[in-house]
Amino acid sequence: MHIILFILLFCSGYSQKFTLSGYIKDKKSGEDLPFANIYIEEIKKGVSSNNYGFYSISLPPGKYTIKVSYVGYNTLQYELNLQKDISINFYLEPIVIVTKEVVISAEKENKNVENVNMGTFKIPIEQVKELPVVFGETDILKTVQLLPGVQFGGEGNTSMYVRGGGPDQNLVLLDNAIVYNPGHLFGFFSIFNSDAIKDVTLIKGDIPANYGGRLSSVLDIIMKEGNLHEIKGIGGIGLIASRFTLEGPIKKEKISFLISGRRTYADVILKPIMKNLPTYYFYDLNGKINYILNHKHRLFLSTYYGKDIFSLSSKNDSMLMKFPWGNFTISGRWNFIINKKLFHNLTITFSNYKYEFIGEHKRFAYKMNSSIYDYAISSDFTYLPHILHNIKFGFKYIYHKIIPSYASLRIGETNFDWSIVSNYYSNDFALYLNDEFEITDKIKISAGIRLTLFQHIGPFKRYILDYKFSVIDSIYYEKNKIIASYPNFEPRILLRYLINEQTSIKTAFTKCQQFIQLGSLSSNTLPTDIWIPATEIIKPQISYQLSFGLFRNFLNNNIETSIELYYKKMYNLIEYKEGVTSDYNLRNNPDNNFTIGQGLSYGSEFFIRKKFGKLTGWIGYTLSKTTRKFPEINNGKEFPAKYDRRHDLSLIITYDIMSQLKASFVFVYATGDCATLPINILFLDGGKILYEYGERNSYRMPPYHRADISITYNFKQKPNKKFNYSLNFSIYNIYNRKNPFFIYIDPKTDYKNNTVELIAKQVSIFGFIPSLTFNFNF
């Protein structure tokens, strides 16, 4: 019966309807609130605003009570008598932190139950800022790594492994521009300055059709537009790093700007103390301009530029090593409300990730750089014909240019120029359609399809090698000639069955592709890993994932719980052929060095979260397994993937001690990383000690665990004064756990007694680290 009604309602204009549409914004700053909720009491249905804060609902004429809500804001109630198409912008008031009472009585969301997406987490920026920090910086990626199903890459790493996928399988977007390396060295900081960020959404696994190009997750980060009413600033001064963000109107209500900067200065402080320490610093710059032309058109222009610089020189300056790398993105967007039901966004972006390595030692100098350039244009439509449907469709085109490794070497006076390596150029097209609709009161489906075409195009010189890695032939393809073409389609189907307001079951089946992947030599993700696109030798990666989840809320949605199960198969994964080191990229195409295999990943994720009250927080626990099988590696036997972690636990507690004093505590536990270690020693070449290694990744390092705490004190804001201050004191790794970073073998020779002993040593990098930060805003 419901189905028939649904079809009739959808297909006809059987009853007259009017459309209520507009933007949902922050009352104080004028910022749009993406994915805010608009709930209609009378029909017990709601919709959410899109990622630009635009909403649209079509209803029969009548009187309606509308409740508009968003996390961190007071719910707005509005009485409407709908008799014609009308455009209303809703302005929500942010909740003032001091008065906790308001929080308790605000709209309790059962979004986690009601949503058709299982693995979607909206990360409130305010929550990110309350977590313990290191070196004075709260961090988005560090917070995301605390969610179940997301495993952090290890000490000194901002990588995320989601459901057994590598760090390259996460689509990280900053204002729609792809970010290839979102981490700074040593993994304490991502490149995202939380003060400049408005919204962060993580989608694990069941990715809707409007996103594509990665197998495991999407991290969609939207920058603030800039306060449209008044000039505001936020900043912090810490022991090792400082940051400052300034935003405000260029023309009130019309044009706003935001600029943000951050830099570390650990090198400046520590260098005089520790002579042989490497120089390390990074900086991040963000900028944005937001221009509201009129109620139909808006323009945004945003940019990010950041760099990490690492340099090490030896005592007598005979050795110098420099390691600069960074990202640069520009994103230009145009929002256009075509009509009350149809919203369009056109985006043009440019992304660049580049790293260089320069090493000099006496008469030997080695320089290498590698970069990836993306030029993209996309057109995305949101069509809301009916309250039961949320339709998205659009298209995206990216032109990729990858310079996998360009190097030059100088020995004495002789120069070897290795720029003979051929760049990779590709066309990446996608067309998608997704509809999220309610079949019945209980069943909601998101069904979508993504049609893709990836082409490897010229100019390109293909080196054909024999088994000795000697070049026996080469083929040259001219500009724009199609060398390989991969058309395909990706269905994405998600279903939610609502048992009651507090409980739901969800299931999803998704097929995803990835056209550019990371070729990693190391067991650690280093910025020297290279991005490899699909070519005539390497096919696009494909994954099929089936997931199932049970969601249950308690105590009026104050406690959220969920259990999710997933099973994922991946094809066309790459690994370096055994024995290859990075100098194999000379006079060769890097993709000749890879071998192809498959992966399997399955697991269960448990989550309990308390959202309101003096004590809030969550526990996430994941039990999972991920393996790889490559015919040419490990003799074709299945082996644990680098990212295999049987157990992963995160506990976060935030407690309001008093109105001005807040504390938070984080505890993480993870099964140790795997490693390939020797099983035998042998002697060759006149008595040198060499090793025979065991099966790939067969050794498990000791588990990783650590606890951090943080205390923030907010100084009382003086009346009539604009400035607010707070002081934060944090400790990273409070019990100084020596987590293994890597293990190595140290041969200890005793010449007197003529003995050699092999001692296994474990190296840890970060122990107990306290930090103090002074934060301000005006």
Partner: protein, 295 residues
């Protein structure tokens, strides 16, 4: 890249904590290790030893127990056979080797090796290519002290691609055996058909390690890696086949990456069939001598 990984490892030693741990590794099965070679104009030499479990403590006794003295080692050039006899060699570890007497290596020929221990047979094949002449040798004094320095080798690589080399040096009166620098093997990918210069330093003899400190200096302050004025150095440049090159290349990759967390460990690329680890390689040698004088 080898230098880079070494330097990165160095970095981590500077800035962190280290502790000794107790690793419980699975024991690998004991394997036979065969290291054999045949040079142009000389008879074959083969060392046969065993692997040892990973965390053994090594002393003299233990090391001697790793030597196999009862293997049957036979080589053939397709026509004749030569059964190698066990002799001692006080200059090279493991001090016992099997040496041939009938077959002398010739360029352009292939040689087969068979090693039989108890009931197991190990087999390998190698080829001695044509030698490549060393054009000249030159002494390059060190920038800080001009009485010590390196030797530079000049040669012209033949035009066809696929030439592989290994180089050795021997200081007359000082070295009892040929030593090689690191890296000692290279191919002609970068300079096929062109003139090559390769810088040589005095290589490492593991039996001498005890004499030198961590900077390579002995008690008199002499550096182990440099050549000195007054010395006569014999340079042996050898042409080798691909499998021979691939093996020593993997040895050298392993040497530099063994403790490095940034690379996947390298297993040695043996050319021995039957389950043994090691190499049976041919060398086409060309010798040249330089007397280092002040000028």
């Amino acid at each position: 890249m080898k230098k880079i990984t070494f330097l990165l490892t160095l970095l981590f030693f500077l800035t962190n904590c280290e502790k000794v741990i107790d690793l419980k590794l699975p024991k690998g099965e004991r394997k036979v290790v065969i290291e054999g070679f045949i040079e142009s104009g000389k008879t074959a030499e083969v060392f046969v030893t065993y692997t040892s479990p990973y965390f053994s403590k090594f002393d003299q006794n233990m090391l001697f127990n790793l030597i196999e003295k009862n293997a049957l080692v036979v080589i053939s050039d397709g026509i004749d056979y030569d059964t190698l006899k066990l002799i001692t060699d006080p200059y090279v570890f493991p001090f016992f080797k099997y040496k041939g007497s009938k077959i002398f290596g010739e360029e352009g020929k292939s040689y087969h090796l068979k090693v039989i221990i108890n009931d197991t047979t190990y087999y390998a094949k190698t080829y001695i290519p044509n030698h490549v002449k060393i054009d000249s040798l030159k002494f390059i004094p060190s920038t800080s002290i001009d009485s010590i320095g390196f030797v530079k080798l000049y040669m012209k690589d033949p035009d066809e691609p696929g030439n592989y080399y290994r180089v050795f040096t021997k200081v007359i009166g000082k070295d009892s055996t040929y030593l090689h620098p690191y890296p000692s093997v290279f191919d002609d990918r970068l300079f096929n058909g062109k003139y090559v210069e390769y810088e040589l330093y005095r290589g490492r003899n593991p039996l001498e390690d005890y004499k030198y400190d961590e900077f390579g200096r002995d008690s008199s302050g002499n550096f182990r890696w440099y050549f000195n004025i007054g010395e006569t150095v014999v340079v042996k440049g050898c042409a080798i086949d691909y499998d021979h090159y691939s093996f020593w290349y993997s040895v050298e990759q392993q040497e530099i990456t063994a403790d490095n967390p940034f690379t996947t460990p390298v297993n040695l690329r043996s050319n021995i069939k039957g389950g043994a680890i090691g190499i049976w390689g041919g060398y086409a040698c060309y010798y040249d001598t330089i007397k280092i004088t002040k000028n």
